[in-house]
C-alpha cells in the first residue's frame, strides 16, 4: 500500500465511496482501484488491471466467517453470593498477594468432554480459590502443596506418592475441604493404619477445622453407630475395622474414599484389598510414599482399587508406566524443597573383626551345608533363618561380643556428641539395640522400640528433642520407621540394613524432613564379603526399579528379592518344592 497514492478524493463521508490509487513508481503499467467504505476506511474490493495481458482482475474482500463455540457452567451463576471484603474472616493464606505463578486446576486425561475439561481449566487458580473461600490455614502452603491439591481436586482416581515428609496429609485434607465447599462431594472416607487414626484426626482439626470429622473404630456397636450417622462429611477408620465392617458397609456409598499407606493393599489377593475394592464410591485416591516396595506388581494391587483393569500382571513395565502416568503424582524433597538441607549418604564398608569373621564363616558353612542337606525340602524360611543369623553376626560376634560396626559407631558418636549434635541409630533387632545401649553407656543413649511401653515413648522423644544431655537415640525400624519427627537429629546411622530401600527411606526421613536445620548425614554400615554386601547389591537394584517407574529412566529387568534370588545369595538353586 505504501507504493500507492490517491488519484481521487473520497465522496461524502458516511456513504460508500470509490477512491483510486495508483502506483507511485510503477515498474510496469498496472492500474488499480480500491473501493473503500468510509468512515471506517475498510476496503470493500480491489480492482486492478494487468496491462501486459489487458485483463482486469477483481478481488472482493469478503469478511471471513467467524464460528463460535459456547459453554455455560451450571455450577456458577452471575449473581454469586460473595461476602464483601469487610465481612470476611481473615484467612492465613495471603489473598492480596499475587504469587509469581498461579497453580491451575487441570483436568485429568479421563475427563473427555471439552465442556467438562473447560470447567476445570476456567476455574480460578488454586491460590485465589482458597483465599476466596475464607479457608483458614495454620501456615501458608508451599507451592508444591498447592500443585498437589490441584492434582487431586479434579481426579476420580489418583495416587499421591510424595516422599515422606512433604505433607500428603495436608494436601489431601485441603483437596477434600475444597471439594466439600464446592459441593462436589458430601461424604468422604479415609482408611489408614490403626496407629495413624489419631494423627489424621489431629491433622484434620488443624487443616480443615470447619469440617466435622468422625473416627469410626473401637467396639462393634460404636462402629455401627458411626457408620449409621447421616451427613458426616469426613470419616476416618482403620483397615482392620474396615475388614470387620465389610458387610455393614455394603449398603453405603461414599463420594470419595482415600487409602493412606496404600501399599497395604498391594497384594490383589488379600482380604484387605478385597474389602477396600468392595467399597462403593465415586472417587478413589491412594496415598503412599512407597507405591512400589518390591516389584511393579505392587502397583497392580493398588490400581485394582483405583482403576480396575487398568493394569494387569502381564503388562510390560514400559506399558505400565505409560498407563499410570496421569494418575500418579510423585515428588521428592530434592525436587520441591529448595530450602531443605541436603541428605548426605555415606556407605561405610567395614571388615569384620577376626573373631566375627571366624564366627561368620563357620555359621555360613554350616548353614549352607544344612540347606544342601535339606535338598528339595529347603524352603525360603530356612534361607531367611540363615540370613538373619549371619546378619546378627555382622552386628556382633555372639561369642566375644566384638563388633567392627560398633567400633566405628563409637568413634563417630564421640565426634558428634562433642560437637553438640544429635544422632539416631536404627537396627531391626531390639536385641542389637539393647546391646548397643550397654556399650554406648557413656553417651547416655535413649531407646525407642517395641519393648518400650507406648505410654513412655512420647517422653523418650521429648527428652531426646529437648534435653542437651541426651544426644543418641537407639531406635528400631519397626517402632520408629513411620510417623516420627526427628528433624533435630543431624546424623542417622543404619546399623544394619532392612530388606527394601523403602523402609530405610522411611527411617531416614524421620530426620530429613521439613524443619531440618542442617545437612542430614546418613551412615550405612555394610560389612565386606558378607551377606550384607550381597543384599546391598539387591537393594541398589530395587532403588533402580523404583526410579525407573517414577522418574522415567531406563528399566532394570528382573530385580527384586524373590525366592530364587534368596537362594542365590548362597549360590544355591531354587528347589522345586520352594
Amino acid at each position: 500500500m505504501n507504493t500507492l497514492r490517491p488519484i481521487s478524493q473520497p465522496a461524502a463521508a458516511g456513504k460508500p465511496a470509490v477512491m483510486g490509487l495508483e502506483p507511485v513508481a510503477p515498474p510496469q503499467c498496472f492500474g488499480g482501484t480500491v473501493n473503500i467504505d468510509l468512515p471506517k476506511c475498510l476496503p470493500v474490493n480491489f480492482i486492478f488491471n494487468a496491462a501486459a495481458v489487458g485483463r482486469v482482475v477483481s478481488l472482493r474482500t469478503k469478511p471471513p466467517k467467524v464460528q463460535v463455540k459456547s459453554f455455560s457452567f451450571a455450577g456458577s451463576t452471575a449473581e454469586a453470593a460473595v461476602c464483601p471484603p469487610a465481612e470476611r474472616s481473615e484467612p492465613a493464606a495471603e489473598k492480596a498477594d499475587t504469587p509469581a505463578s498461579y497453580t491451575r486446576l487441570t483436568p485429568s486425561r479421563d475427563v473427555i468432554k471439552l465442556g467438562d475439561r473447560l470447567e476445570y481449566v476456567l476455574q480460578p487458580p488454586l491460590e485465589l480459590l482458597l483465599a476466596d473461600s475464607n479457608l483458614f490455614f495454620p501456615c501458608r502452603p508451599y507451592a508444591y502443596q498447592y500443585a498437589g491439591v490441584a492434582f487431586l481436586f479434579p481426579r476420580q482416581a489418583a495416587i499421591l506418592a510424595d516422599e515422606m515428609g512433604l505433607g500428603k496429609t495436608m494436601q489431601t485434607l485441603t483437596a477434600i475441604r475444597l471439594l466439600i465447599r464446592q459441593q462436589k462431594i458430601r461424604e468422604a472416607l479415609i482408611v489408614c493404619p490403626k496407629p495413624l487414626v489419631s494423627n489424621w484426626l489431629r491433622e484434620a482439626a488443624r487443616w480443615a477445622p470447619e469440617i466435622t470429622v468422625m473416627a469410626v473404630e473401637g467396639e462393634t456397636a460404636k462402629r455401627r453407630w458411626g457408620w449409621s450417622l447421616p451427613d458426616v462429611p469426613l470419616r476416618i477408620t482403620n483397615y482392620e475395622s474396615l475388614l470387620r465392617d465389610e458387610q455393614c458397609l455394603a449398603a453405603r456409598s461414599f463420594d470419595l474414599v482415600v487409602l493412606d499407606e496404600a501399599q497395604r493393599i498391594k497384594n490383589p489377593l488379600s482380604a484387605t484389598n478385597a474389602a477396600v475394592c468392595a467399597l462403593r464410591r465415586r472417587r478413589s485416591w491412594a496415598l503412599t510414599g512407597t507405591p512400589v516396595e518390591n516389584s511393579p506388581q505392587d502397583l497392580v494391587g493398588i490400581f485394582g482399587f483405583l482403576v480396575p483393569d487398568l493394569l494387569s500382571p502381564e503388562m510390560t513395565p514400559t506399558a505400565m508406566r505409560a498407563a499410570i502416568a496421569d494418575y500418579v503424582l510423585r515428588r521428592t524433597k530434592e525436587q520441591v524443597l529448595d530450602d531443605l538441607p541436603p541428605k548426605l549418604i555415606h556407605d561405610v564398608w567395614l571388615e569384620l573383626t577376626p573373631e566375627q569373621e571366624e564366627s561368620y564363616r563357620l555359621a555360613e558353612e554350616q548353614g549352607v551345608l544344612r540347606l544342601k542337606s535339606l535338598g528339595r525340602q529347603a524352603t525360603i524360611r530356612h534361607v531367611f533363618e540363615l540370613i538373619l543369623r549371619l546378619k546378627q553376626i555382622c552386628n556382633f560376634d555372639p561369642l566375644s561380643g566384638e563388633s567392627a560396626k560398633l567400633e566405628r559407631l563409637e568413634a563417630d558418636l564421640e565426634e558428634i556428641v562433642a560437637s553438640g549434635r544429635k544422632a539416631v541409630v536404627f537396627s531391626q533387632w531390639v536385641g542389637t539395640l539393647r546391646h548397643l545401649r550397654k556399650r554406648l553407656a557413656p553417651f547416655a543413649p535413649l531407646e525407642y522400640h517395641g519393648r518400650i511401653p507406648v505410654r513412655e515413648r512420647e517422653a523418650v522423644l521429648a527428652r531426646f528433642r529437648d534435653e542437651p544431655n541426651y544426644r543418641v537415640l537407639l531406635i528400631s525400624y519397626g517402632a520408629g520407621g513411620v510417623g516420627l519427627n526427628l528433624q533435630f537429629a543431624e546424623y542417622v546411622f543404619l546399623f544394619d540394613r532392612w530388606w527394601n530401600p523403602a523402609v530405610e527411606a522411611q527411617a531416614i526421613n524421620r530426620a530429613h524432613r521439613i524443619g531440618a536445620q542442617g545437612a542430614v548425614n546418613v551412615v550405612r554400615f555394610i560389612t565386606l564379603n558378607t551377606i550384607e554386601e550381597r543384599i546391598d547389591r539387591i537393594l541398589e537394584e530395587k532403588q533402580t526399579l523404583f526410579e525407573t517407574i517414577f522418574a522415567g529412566e531406563g528399566w532394570a529387568q528382573g530385580v527384586g528379592l524373590d525366592a530364587a534370588e534368596l537362594f542365590g545369595l548362597f549360590q544355591l538353586a531354587l528347589p522345586e518344592a520352594a
Binding site: 476506511c41 476496503p43 467467524v66 449473581e79 489473598k95 475439561r117
Partner: protein, 204 residues
C-alpha cells in the same frame, strides 16, 4: 446486532485473542461472576486472513479482525451482558461501536514495554506526533488512531478506557471499588488462553 438475554451487574467479561502461528487467530470470551468463577465461555474457530486481506486491510487489519470480527461476534454470543468487558489487546477495543457493553483495556507491565502492535498499550491520550511522522496520504491514519484512551487506576489494576466513555468509567469505579483490591484482572486472560489451547487440542 444480536443482544444479550440478560444484563448483569455482577458479571465481568474478559476477551482476548490468541495468535497461533499455524492455525491463525482464536478468540476467547470468558464471563466471570464476582467470585471469579466461570459463568460462560465462548471461543471462535481459528481465523486466518489471506494475503489479499492482509494487503488490502493494511494497518486496519488487526482492528478489523480482533475487534469487529472476533470481539463483536463473541460479545454478541454471550447470554449474559456483563457490566464491563476487559481485554488485554488494544485492537479489540475496535468492537466498541458495535456492542453496548463498555470495553476497557487492562494494562500490565509487559504491555507498557511491548513493541508488538497488538500488545503495545497507548496508556493514556494518544500522542498526535505519532501521526505527523507517518505518510500524509495514508488513508487509514484516522482509523489507526482509534479512540483516545485515558488510563486510570482500578484497585490493584491499571486500566485504560476511551475518553468518550467517562460515564462508564465512573460507573465501573463506583460499582466495583470495593472489589478492586482483590481482583487481579490480568489472571483471567491466562485462563482463556489455557481454554483456547484445550479447545484447539480437542479439535485436533
Amino acid at each position: 446486532m444480536r443482544g444479550c438475554e440478560s444484563k448483569s451487574n455482577t458479571a465481568i467479561g474478559f476477551l482476548t485473542v490468541v495468535e497461533h502461528t499455524e492455525y491463525g487467530l482464536f478468540g476467547g470470551y470468558l464471563i466471570l461472576n464476582l467470585a471469579g468463577r466461570p459463568v460462560e465461555f465462548h471461543c471462535t474457530t481459528p481465523l486466518k486472513p489471506n494475503r489479499a486481506q492482509k494487503i488490502l486491510y493494511g494497518p486496519t487489519l488487526n482492528d478489523f479482525l480482533y475487534g469487529e470480527l472476533i470481539g463483536r461476534t463473541l460479545i454478541e454470543h454471550g447470554r449474559i451482558c456483563p457490566f464491563v468487558v476487559c481485554t488485554d489487546l488494544e485492537p479489540i477495543l475496535a468492537a466498541q461501536p458495535y456492542v453496548s457493553t463498555p470495553l476497557v483495556l487492562v494494562l500490565d507491565d509487559a504491555m507498557q514495554h511491548s513493541t508488538n502492535p497488538t500488545q503495545a498499550a497507548p496508556a493514556g491520550v494518544v500522542n498526535d506526533e505519532e501521526f505527523t511522522e507517518t505518510k500524509v496520504y495514508r488513508l487509514d491514519a484516522a482509523h489507526r488512531s482509534g479512540p483516545q484512551l485515558v488510563g486510570f487506576q482500578f484497585g490493584r489494576n491499571r486500566l485504560a478506557a476511551p475518553v468518550a466513555a467517562e460515564a462508564e468509567r465512573r460507573a465501573l469505579l463506583e460499582r466495583f471499588s470495593d472489589w478492586a483490591e482483590t481482583f487481579d484482572l490480568v489472571e483471567p486472560f491466562q485462563r482463556i488462553r489455557a481454554a483456547i489451547e484445550e479447545a484447539r487440542q480437542a479439535a485436533q
